[in-house]
């Protein structure tokens, strides 16, 4: 199933290039309804005196710890609010999201 993908939330990747990068891509259907998202995992992150190896921010920007943290697989594949897979790169995550939808 092909979705229309657009940039979601952005942040500064901290690479010194001072440009905002998408940390989320949102996949919508033809009616414009959000069907899937791919979200970049942050980490390691030190917050409230705890070290999180991998975290994601929820809709309210609260830190959600992810376990297990898989080195390299920095993108979460979220279909209809459920994490269904992970991928090392955003484009691969998008393909996995579409594949997951097609499989349903």
């Amino acid at each position: 199933m092909r979705l229309r993908w657009t940039r979601g939330r952005t942040d500064d990747p901290g690479d010194g290039a001072s440009r905002l990068r998408a940390r989320e891509w949102v996949g919508c259907d033809d009616a414009g309804e959000t069907i899937a998202r791919v979200v970049r995992v942050h980490g390691p992150l030190l917050t409230n005196w705890r070290l999180f190896h991998a975290v994601a921010l929820d809709e309210e920007a609260r830190v959600v710890e992810l376990r297990p943290s898989l080195p390299g697989d920095r993108w979460l594949v979220v279909v209809k609010d459920r994490v269904v897979d992970r991928a090392p790169l955003a484009m691969a995550a998008v393909r996995r999201a579409e594949a997951a939808l097609a499989a349903n």
Partner: protein, 693 residues
């Protein structure tokens, strides 16, 4: 000569493990860019960049030769660098001034130790790089396995832009994954024509799979490009190339090319890759100025960007003395310099007049009247400028970030065979040391002998050979000696009083010093922790000097003492009898007494040794390495060979090559490089101390 626009200049290095094909690739580049009308072959000893006699005789690259070439309206300054670890300084200083590098990986063995070392050096200088997997025509070559070693050994994120068509003796071309087409060469000979063709049917699926990986990786650096991809299902070639260039420059991933330079396949697309993906001087931020004395090295510092209209600033990165005189290779970072101009050497705070300037083509040179930002040229007429010095305009006298040089690990004594040779030898060695910062000279205080310290047996052998050929000095050489060091293992506080009264004014000084061990390779640190003027501040430098001088002669066997901290915590002085000399003497004695009680140990250089041997000799090789106090790190299969990696003390590695050849009937090879310093075992320490007594 018309100025080349900055965005059309590429300053690149070619680097790899020994014998991976760097010089052959450079020769092909020169041929295909039209600089060399006939091609040189390493095995025939007539390559353009290996112009020293020793290089041609041995078939290895010793000094880095700067070569300028033109390709598709771009100027490429290529520096061919040695692969042998003994000449690592050449790689080091080249990487420091280059904007990009081509790393050549051997198609059979993949990433080898020297590739790893050079890779880490390039990391240190943030050099953008592309990878060329070479020698795919060789028996046992495997592109995919060689590429996999990039992940295993370098731990990098790489992405291939090409796939080979055929392998070993059937290698005939490459698939270009950026434009999704194939190139087939019509022969193996030099200058063989190649033509564009559709991707062969048997490679179509694989090409599609790897192009998807390329798109996933490359477009990840640019959200707009990803959006374009999501909209159209693909991106145009220009967008893809732009993303690859961005990812290459910021180090997000490393593009991989492939071919066989020797069989003349893949060199032209590699040159296209240099133009397309490696940065011009304006694509990178520029060079940092050096930290001020006492300033934190990690602190934010001013950056000098490439700009022709700014005041002149350049870095001398290589000195060569040849029959024409003293040539200083300079990388120009900003401004313009003309023949006859005077500049400041801001490192040494002197003035230099530039007599003549040349664009270098290995051993040939073309005189130029000016040099501009972004370019590399050789200057004649500089008197006091050494490697790593900054040359700058008086308008903006900046000092650029300095170079780091490796520590020599091996010593030999050298003395001329005749009395007449003494002066010539001193002059020759001083000039050679001026060219090569990894070569150190010193005089043994006890024997009066000249001691040469270098990076390995081959390094020193070449120096002695050059001394004979270039300066006409025949010299007697001592056996190579390991450059041991001494250090301490525990803290100790020592108080020493120097008191002398023999008529007239006396000498009086008392120092209390805490000696503490430090991490390896962190050097010597001094802290003045005195309070209340117990040691007047005019005597503090004398204490520091005393320790510094005495540290050159360790308490166990007279080797330099390294990696310790000493804090002057207290002391006493006398209004009349105290002097700087008295405090220096007291500090020296305090060091001698204190170090003995601080758990002194002798350190020896441990080498990272890699032996490639046919599998039927593995047992012999491993047993032999164990006998040499080696610790095996890994054993890996590679085609029909086994690669054994071990940490072995340098002392045990002298003359190893002949032993290895004997053991394996000449079928094994090895390389080694300095890894770290470790304390020697007790029995070895006893032997060393006995020998030095």
């Amino acid at each position: 000569m018309a100025r080349t626009p900055l965005d059309r200049i590429r300053n690149i290095g070619i680097t790899a493990h020994i014998d991976a094909g760097k010089t052959t690739t450079t020769e092909r580049i020169l041929y295909y860019t039209g600089k060399s009308h006939r091609i040189g072959e390493v095995h025939e000893g007539n390559t353009t960049t290996d112009y020293m006699e020793q290089e041609r005789e041995r078939g290895i690259t010793i000094t880095s030769a700067a070569v300028t070439a033109e390709w598709k309206d771009h100027r490429i300054n290529v520096i061919d660098t040695p692969g042998h670890i003994d000449f690592n300084i050449e790689v080091n200083r080249s990487l420091r001034v280059l904007d990009g590098a081509v790393f050549i990986i051997e198609g059979v063995a993949g990433v080898q130790p020297q590739s790893e070392t050079n890779w880490r050096l390039a990391d240190r200088y943030n050099v953008p790089r592309i990878i060329f997997i070479n020698k795919l025509d060789r028996t046992g070559a495997d592109f995919y396995r060689a590429a996999a070693t990039l992940t295993e050994k370098l731990g990098i994120n790489w992405v291939t832009l090409q796939l080979p068509i055929g392998i070993e003796d059937t290698l005939k071309g490459i698939v270009d994954l950026v434009e999704m087409k194939a190139y087939i060469w019509e022969g193996d000979e030099l200058g063989a024509k190649y033509h564009e063709t559709p991707i062969p049917d048997d490679l179509k699926d694989k090409a599609a799979e790897y192009r998807q990986i390329l798109l996933d990786t490359a477009l990840s650096v640019d959200d707009a490009a990803m959006e374009e991809y999501f909209d159209k299902g693909d991106v145009d070639v220009a967008t893809l190339k732009r993303c690859i260039k961005r990812g290459t420059i910021d180090g997000t991933f490393r593009p991989v090319f492939c071919g066989s330079a020797f069989k003349n396949k893949g060199v032209q697309p590699l040159l296209d890759g240099v133009i397309d993906y490696l940065p011009s001087p304006v694509d990178i931020p520029g060079i940092k100025v050096a930290a001020e004395e006492g300033e934190d090295e990690a602190a934010e510092r001013r950056i000098i960007p490439a700009n022709v209209d700014a005041p002149f600033a350049g870095l001398a990165f290589k000195i060569v003395n040849d029959k024409y005189g003293n040539l200083t290779f300079v990388r120009v970072y900003s401004g313009v310099l003309k023949t006859g101009d005077t500049v400041l050497n801001t490192t040494k705070e002197g003035k230099e007049r530039v007599g003549r300037m040349f664009q270098m083509h290995a051993d040939k040179r073309e005189e130029i009247k000016e040099v501009t930002a972004g370019d590399i040229a050789a200057f004649v007429g500089l008197k006091d400028t050494g490697t790593g010095d900054t040359l700058a305009s008086a308008e903006d006298p900046v000092v650029l970030e300095r170079m780091a040089f490796p520590v020599p690990v091996i010593d030999i004594s050298v003395e001329p065979k005749t009395k007449e040779g003494v002066e010539k030898m001193t002059l020759g060695l001083q000039k050679l040391a001026g060219e090569d910062p990894s070569l150190r000279l010193k005089t043994d205080q006890e024997t009066g002998q000249t001691i040469l310290s270098g990076m390995g047996e081959l390094h020193l052998e070449i120096i002695i050979d050059r001394l004979k050929r270039e300066y006409g000095v025949d010299a007697n050489i001592g056996a190579p000696q390991v450059a041991y060091r001494e250090t301490i293992t525990k803290s100790h506080t020592e108080t020493y009083t120097h008191k002398k009264q023999s008529g007239g004014s006396g000498q009086y000084a008392e120092v209390k010093i805490v000696f503490e061990p430090k991490e390896r390779n962190t050097g010597i640190e001094f802290v003045n922790a005195t309070a209340g003027g117990s040691v007047p501040k005019e005597y503090i430098p004398a204490v520091e000097k005393g320790i510094k001088v005495q540290a050159d002669t360790g308490v166990l066997a007279g080797f330099p003492t390294v990696d310790f901290k000493y804090s002057l915590v207290d002391g006493k002085y006398h209004d009349v009898d105290s002097s700087a000399l008295a405090f220096e003497i007291a500090a020296k004695a305090c060091f001698r007494e204190g170090m003995k009680k601080a758990g002194p140990v002798i350190l020896e250089p441990i080498m990272d040794v890699e032996v490639t041997t046919p599998s039927d000799h593995v047992g012999d090789v491993v047993g032999d390495l164990n006998r040499r106090r080696g610790v095996i790190q890994s054993q890996d299969m590679a085609s029909t060979s086994v690669i054994i990696r071990a940490h072995v003390p340098l002392k045990e590695m002298f003359g190893y090559i002949s032993n290895l050849r004997g053991m394996t009937k000449g079928r094994a090879s090895f390389s080694m490089q300095f890894h770290h310093y470790d304390p020697v075992p007790r029995n070895v320490a006893d032997e060393i101390m006995k020998a030095s007594a």
